[in-house]
């Protein structure tokens, strides 16, 4: 933590970055994101096991971008989000400095994106173990049971779109749900529309999800919507052998193809 603060101060004092995006202590034992523009205030930066939010979501917001060059406290999912954003031209590598945090909480020094890429390549990239277990349990259900499970979950949905807002990859300024000609997703919350929304979201994140689980944590009614995208992470890996966010130059699974892609259901 001390190293993190020193590094942040150094970056701000030398005017290398104009804002540091990190975590600070919030009310009632919670942590919250903080945007530090003054090096004297960098002492409030913390990092511990509660700091799991995916801060990369702020990198594409104009309210944050207006400060100028951004420094960001980044765990592995955040680093991978940054890779996806760079590969999709949503973030320029010159506009971001990554204050990496390793799995055991050490501050990592990344000279540039290539160094970060080498670090990511050495990490475990699959879904977290807890989610992997939940996926396995769900996959054992039969079709009707799966349908009922998701119907029950989606019936709770209030269409607040927190899943979308919390996701760094959902950066479109005009989302398909705001489109009303045609109206793909009904405005009101009903089972059909809720399901269609969650399918649409999962499909738009297919092969782009980096398994941070932020959508599921952001959901105020506790729909495990992160399992949908994490299931597709597994599938993208098994069919196409790639994980998202491992390089700043890769194309996502659905924006490219290989002539020898294998499937067994097209007759």
């Amino acid at each position: 933590m001390h190293n993190l603060i020193l590094k942040a101060k150094e970056l701000l004092e030398n005017k290398i970055v104009s804002v540091i995006i990190g975590f600070e202590t919030g009310s009632s034992g919670k942590v919250r994101p903080v945007f530090i523009t003054d090096s004297n205030k960098a002492d409030s930066l913390i990092f511990d096991e509660r700091c799991i939010q995916n801060l990369a979501v702020y990198l594409t917001k104009k309210e944050v971008k207006q400060f100028g060059k951004m420094g960001i406290v980044a765990t592995l999912p955040i680093m991978r989000s940054i890779m996806v954003l760079i590969s999709e031209q949503q973030l320029s590598p010159e506009n971001v400095v990554v204050l990496g945090i390793s799995g055991d909480g050490e501050v990592l020094d990344f000279a540039d994106i290539t160094v970060m890429q080498h670090y990511i390549e050495k990490c475990e990239l699959g879904n977290p173990a807890k989610e992997q277990d939940m996926l396995a349990t769900l996959n054992r259900l039969n079709m009707q049971e799966k349908f009922e499970f998701w119907q029950k979950e989606f019936s709770k949905c209030i269409k607040c779109y927190a899943c979308r807002q919390s996701c760094p990859m959902c950066y479109c300024t005009r989302c398909a749900v705001e489109c009303n000609q045609p109206q793909w997703i009904p405005v009101q919350s009903n089972n059909l529309g809720n399901m269609e929304w969650h399918i649409l979201r999962a499909m738009h994140l297919a092969g782009r999800c980096i398994s941070c689980g932020e959508c599921g944590r952001a959901c105020p009614v506790g729909i495990p919507c992160h399992l949908l995208t994490m299931h597709l992470v597994d599938q993208a890996q098994s069919y196409f052998g790639v994980y998202a966010g491992i390089s700043d130059k890769m194309s996502s699974v659905l924006s490219t193809y290989a002539p020898n892609d294998k499937e067994s259901f097209i007759i």
Partner: protein, 150 residues
């Protein structure tokens, strides 16, 4: 009680399957009349939301068909579509939506007889599966909710 006749929607590409279906007709091959064909410029244009909307509007089965790999009029539309269908199918399976009701196929402009076969086999399969009750129930409750809230 009359026998259940399934409604099947076919999303086909203009260059191969639509021309193939045309050949089926000009060759005077009979096939199930349950199918409603919708022509698209390319399989790459067939959005997964369209498939969901056809179930929501009462379809019991769906056919999605285009040019064989390497034969796409736009070179790579069907390859992109293939990847999308793989992901879509896996997601649908995970969510408990009946993928036996959707046929994905490649039918070229020369395969008139094969198109008849694809349609007939799909219609037979969907007829055996019966109406897509669970999906229709979900649609109906959603409409009822809308009416009561209005």
């Amino acid at each position: 009680m009359s026998e259940f006749e399934p409604k099947v929607v076919a999303f086909v590409c203009n260059w191969c399957t639509y021309a193939g279906a045309d050949l089926t007709g000009t060759s005077r091959i009979k096939y199930a009349s349950n199918v409603k064909i919708i022509r698209f410029p390319c399989t790459g244009r067939i959005d997964f939301m369209l498939l969901l909307k056809s179930f929501a509007n009462g379809a019991d089965g769906i056919i999605v068909s285009g040019c064989h790999p390497n034969d796409c009029h736009y070179t790579s539309g069907n390859f992109h579509a293939k990847r999308r269908w793989i992901m879509f199918k896996e997601l649908m399976d995970f969510m408990g939506i009946d993928m036996n009701r959707i046929t994905f196929s490649w039918v070229s402009a020369a395969e008139g007889a094969r198109w008849a076969e694809v349609v007939n086999s799909t219609v037979t399969r969907v007829r055996e599966l019966g109406p897509y009750v669970s999906y229709k129930q979900m649609v109906n409750t959603s409409i009822e909710e809308e009416v009561t809230h209005a």
